[in-house]
Symmetry: D2
Subunit: 326 residues, 4 copies
Amino acid sequence: MKLGLIGFGRIGKIHYYNILQRIPEAEIVMVSDPMADLSAIGTAIGTPDDILNHEEIEAVIICSPTDTHADLVEACAKKGKHIFCEKPLDLSLERISAAIKLVEEHGVKLMMGFNRRFDANFLKIRELVLNGSVGEPQIVKITSRDPGPPPLTYLRESGGMFLDMSIHDFDMARYIMGKEVTGVFAHAAVFCGEDIEAAGDIDTAIITLTFEDQSMAVIDNSRKAVYGYDQRLEVFGSKGMVNVDNNTPDKHHFYNEQGVHSALPLHFFLERYTESYLLEMRQFINALKNGGKVPVGGEDARQATRIALAAKKSVKEKRWVSLEEI
Amino acid sequence: MKLGLIGFGRIGKIHYYNILQRIPEAEIVMVSDPMADLSAIGTAIGTPDDILNHEEIEAVIICSPTDTHADLVEACAKKGKHIFCEKPLDLSLERISAAIKLVEEHGVKLMMGFNRRFDANFLKIRELVLNGSVGEPQIVKITSRDPGPPPLTYLRESGGMFLDMSIHDFDMARYIMGKEVTGVFAHAAVFCGEDIEAAGDIDTAIITLTFEDQSMAVIDNSRKAVYGYDQRLEVFGSKGMVNVDNNTPDKHHFYNEQGVHSALPLHFFLERYTESYLLEMRQFINALKNGGKVPVGGEDARQATRIALAAKKSVKEKRWVSLEEI
Amino acid sequence: MKLGLIGFGRIGKIHYYNILQRIPEAEIVMVSDPMADLSAIGTAIGTPDDILNHEEIEAVIICSPTDTHADLVEACAKKGKHIFCEKPLDLSLERISAAIKLVEEHGVKLMMGFNRRFDANFLKIRELVLNGSVGEPQIVKITSRDPGPPPLTYLRESGGMFLDMSIHDFDMARYIMGKEVTGVFAHAAVFCGEDIEAAGDIDTAIITLTFEDQSMAVIDNSRKAVYGYDQRLEVFGSKGMVNVDNNTPDKHHFYNEQGVHSALPLHFFLERYTESYLLEMRQFINALKNGGKVPVGGEDARQATRIALAAKKSVKEKRWVSLEEI
Amino acid sequence: MKLGLIGFGRIGKIHYYNILQRIPEAEIVMVSDPMADLSAIGTAIGTPDDILNHEEIEAVIICSPTDTHADLVEACAKKGKHIFCEKPLDLSLERISAAIKLVEEHGVKLMMGFNRRFDANFLKIRELVLNGSVGEPQIVKITSRDPGPPPLTYLRESGGMFLDMSIHDFDMARYIMGKEVTGVFAHAAVFCGEDIEAAGDIDTAIITLTFEDQSMAVIDNSRKAVYGYDQRLEVFGSKGMVNVDNNTPDKHHFYNEQGVHSALPLHFFLERYTESYLLEMRQFINALKNGGKVPVGGEDARQATRIALAAKKSVKEKRWVSLEEI
């Protein structure tokens, strides 16, 4: 199974080395990134077109900037190449829908990089929901806080917190519940600096999601948790409740006269989701090899984006926004 | 300090025995309850009027049914007796305001029984907020779930979940934040049976509160957590985060081939808030003796009621409701 | 049920107020303590002899200094009064045996104040051992550390750490295992100051106990844990393991840039064992009223003392000491 | 840096793939194992002699059966090759000493595979001891229990539990304390089956270690913890206490009517110490490349073996055994 990789930034590198070192059944045969120094890696270098036209390449991993995703997805589809694309597929719902349509028409597989679905903690929750242990799920609670806001240059292109950051949580809520969201209410604020406000963005929010059967999810987001990356989840159902705490670098408790002290959560997503990135890529390769369905598809990207757009509207209009409006 | 007690139900008994056994500086000299068997207690029995007219009684503890609270508060005020009143003061905002006005006119003290403010866990959170450890509070999260719904007869008189149960959480949010709520969004559902729906009530909700400075609180409520009474709180601020877990009857962890097993939360409010009931009464007695302010006043009852009424309206109209509308 | 109380020090007061406030079926009718100011309590004051000769007193609670215990126990027995005696019964094994013999001859009940047996955590462990959850117990581990050493004046009369402090743990090991100890190895040291060494005592130890069936217990003691009172227990068996952690004043976790911080254990035995003191007294009263066996008898005192003496010998001779030698 | 690997069993494979995938600065150029199927790996295959005579190989990793370790270590030393050797170096103290002497004479580096020193939890404890946070360490407590006994064929060659299993804990105690052990007391038993007894071995033990300054360590071992691999450590010192709990596959807590349920420890050493194996090998490679000292040397093997032999003697003679006797 030969692959091409477009974009050798932070995430591109993760996928590159995971495949090189830990997924022996696949091989990246060409890498493209106009900005990165690729001289040290022992893989052929090319342009995106070189990858798209490479006859042996069956699938392409897209980790380039967001505004190139939809174009590249469509180009891959036209060339009959399967696609693994980092989120978001695009910031525009129309553009996403068009890309998905093209993908379907060309019969290629598109997997979206919602890597948190592959975290051991969330998988455990999913298992306990699916096997009925928690009964009918009624409330999902997601805490998702970053250790600090990204640079303003990044923020300005990101589509805003809901489309850039909360979108992971919207996907998680759908994934855990196995149901579609019907509407959104969001209250948001800026606490992390005037720059964010000037950029028209927000950094802190409480978002309530409603589902078809009146069950509900609540997400709280902050761009700046001084104690690090906070990623917790809880499902409350008719037969029980399950929650997961953060992972930590170690399990020590230190007792002195001042109190008991223990380790902060793993600092950020690279540390917390190391194994999730590996597992999602393994499942992508596996789906290609064995002809199955990819576990996260284009429709998942579309739904998460709709929720994000509804959240934006809800903040602006201070009301619950039905997904049907989006 | 001589006291009268009106209402010898579940809560009335708690106060009675706490004062008898553990608050030696006060004494209940007369008890009134037409429904309870008072023959075994060694205290004089009388009607509410007997208590109101008892010359030595300086303060009255009101634990009778909700619909008698406002009348009794006013009657006490007119007789110049200080008042400790279980929540709610009344279900009608006008009635509450009138009672508070009368209390103020007669210069008596009125303390409301929001006993959770006196729980060691929440006091600890309050301390860390007040001393600046968490910085500027941005998000308060309250989990508040009962082990099972009360009888329908109770529910029908209760004013509904927001006025009966969530009102404790509304008070807690105000207390922890030290700020006033500006608006409410609530999504609610019925998962615990058709009876509740038929009674026009709800049993599960997510409620977002907004504060003057854009900070926010989120409360999730359920009338039926099969694993018991779930009372947790978290404050997220600019300098840190603090949360408290449930209390348990013991701290055991049992490991066998199936997993690790530990104790459920203390079953319900009588177990969880045993010491809170004592501490609130001690502070009431103390405020009377030393002439200070009572820690929870009539205005607190009024504000919590306003939030509850806004939540009801929000569910009905599917929008954020400004407190100014109430 | 009328009782007399001899000794109104720290422990005597606990029993006094527990009975007064929370055990209505019993009443202390006379208190004796030559050193304490008893003017404020509303109970008759007398000499120990007054109590022994008081016709209505059925049982005596002995909380006076250690060197008076055996004499008072014997005097009570001769007068036909039941006895609740704080540990130790005596420091001399012969004296203990003699007192027990007299107690048996006079057919009175003697309960020893090993109050830790009545702690909710240890009761939970005992339950899981008795109901077979942990299978055949193989290893018991007890961590028992004080927040600081007692005054030297106390230490000099105490019989040393094994007889004064570890004796609780020796009793606990027997209680949890439900088996007799066959031998002891102890390694001890002095880390808390030259005074303790000068007094011929030790302050830190690891003690291994062996049981008839080769199962084993290990206790670690320190007179000075700077972080407070550390009382944990673990049982490892053929079907599982159970342990209990310390109780804390609250369940908060505070996260800031430095780490996660939580509450230290309850400071010392008065805080940790508040409820144990109540429960043991209730069981004593109950055994008297209903004619049952007291849950901790004189033989328990004798066995714990034998283990303590064996531990002393083991440290001195640097070898395992059979209980048969004692 | 070219390496040879002798022994491609469970541990040999771990080192092989760690170097192949995650330590790019080193390369295994030849593997030797008469029993394993090596056809699938892309590395040259040879006899141990081929490796010893391979001119480019600078260091040899020895993962063959225990009874070959000392011979291979000596052969490597004579050929001037650095050595990474799995524990134990040998079961005989004389043989170990001879091998160490030869290693020193030939000026090669010998690192012993006490991989637990490289576990994040124990490293954290070591850090808090070294930086003075716990003050002067007084008590070290090690819980070390396997999920099940190894096959009898293995047991018979293993030298017994102390030399095979507890030896890791003896090394850990020395490592954490940074001091030498002066004597040992051990009580041991057989609870896991007659076969173990017939083989002259034990499966459960409490071992007390004494150090030069009277500080102490206690280890409890079992060959069969039905709930999995239990690896905990605690250090108690003059300024505080630190302990580490087991690692788990996830951090979930599931609450239902029966209780709260969470994950068992990672099943066994392959899961628990995955990263420790990698880190120890990185440090070995690093020490070779940069000319530093290896972090675990032959003397560490010798001292751990002495403690194990003393423990055996202590069980037999039921007394504390000075290390000077060994």
